[in-house]
Amino acid sequence: MKNILSAAAMALLLAQMPPAAFAHDHSAMTGAEPAAAEGHEMGDTKAGELTIGNAFARATLPGAKVGGAYVTIANTGSEADRLLGGSTAVASHVEVHEMKMDGNIMQMRKLKEGLAIPAGETVQLAPGGLHLMLMGLKQPLKEGEMLPVTLEFEKSGKVELEFMVGPANGAGMEHK
């Protein structure tokens, strides 16, 4: 019953919404959307066959011991690579995590084997899904600051990047 109601409510909402408004939500969940392409306009870092851009982090709340950071990685080469993790001065370690919903239950897991970056594909880490988890934060991440993080790839090795710290709610960051 509830499902039918919420489905009906969604249908109504979708009918009212301008297309742009709802493209927004989905860009966070999919890989090679226009939103990802926008990230290539500036501030991209090249490392071998990888083009890395759209690097941002969520500002953290007072006392928070963990932070989320996001990045878009395009593999223009013919061989797959793998994002293994990273490091930064402000956290004890950086892991690649996946958040997913199982019904109404939020689950978060470290990707033990790292994150595959298949040849010719773009992988987007974004709020609500894949993220870099900064664990054991030594200081809060403040909006507007730049956060240097070194990412580690299986083939491309270590890559230094600057992450822009955006608003703590992660809102609207998918398109920047």
Binding site: G63, V66, M108, G128, M133
Partner: protein
């Protein structure tokens, strides 16, 4: 004559038994067809973010929104709490009776100080609740919230947990829920219904 009366009495007796049986089965079947109202929540004595005791009485006399989460949570919890702060802003005066509670599923790490620090980053209208782990677990289970510790490689842990917001009426009874990533319009409609109810 006597026989006649005996037969009549006997028949009336049989009818009485039949009627009693029908009445009984009717009510019995009626009852079993009607599902029991879901009993959610239980009395509790926990600690609010200011270190003061808080009980189930805090959930009555006004509409409430309950969210179960933890502060070592980079995604769902801050997003949901920010959304809740936004709903409160949008409701303005209309929502002045609504009280919002953030109940930790990780009482070992979420002390009152940690909770206060954390919720104050969103709005002063969210009250954090923590307490003795066994008491918190009891409350969490009574609301049928799923919460499970998942160890991480560094010897620490994260929590899988239900991410829905529970909306309670003035009697502290569950009225509806807002799911994670529910559209703001639907969330606001549900809150307005709750407040109006």
């Amino acid at each position: 004559m006597m026989n006649y009366r005996a037969v009549r009495l006997g028949l009336w007796g049989a009818i009485a038994v039949l009627v009693a049986f029908l009445v009984y089965t009717y009510f019995y079947a009626g009852q079993s067809r009607r599902p029991d109202p879901v009993q959610l929540g239980s009395p509790f004595t926990l600690t609010d973010q200011n270190g003061a005791p808080i009980t189930e009485a805090a959930l009555t006399g006004h509409p409430s929104a309950l969210f179960f989460g933890f502060t070592h949570c980079p995604e769902v919890c801050p997003t949901t709490l920010f959304e809740m702060a936004g709903w409160l802003d949008q409701l303005g005066d209309e929502g002045k009776d609504l009280r919002v509670f953030f109940i930790t599923v990780d009482p070992e790490r979420d002390t009152p100080e940690v909770m206060k620090n954390y919720t104050s980053g969103f709005t002063s209208r969210i009250t954090g609740i923590t307490g003795k782990p066994e008491d918190v677990t009891k409350l969490v289970k009574s609301w049928r919230i799923y919460a499970k510790k998942v160890p991480t490689d560094d010897g620490s842990y994260t929590m899988d947990h239900t991410a829905s917001v529970m909306l309670l009426d003035r009697d502290g009874k569950l009225k509806s829920t807002i799911d994670y990533k529910e559209s703001p319009d639907v969330a606001l409609k549900k809150l307005r219904l709750l407040i109006a109810g």
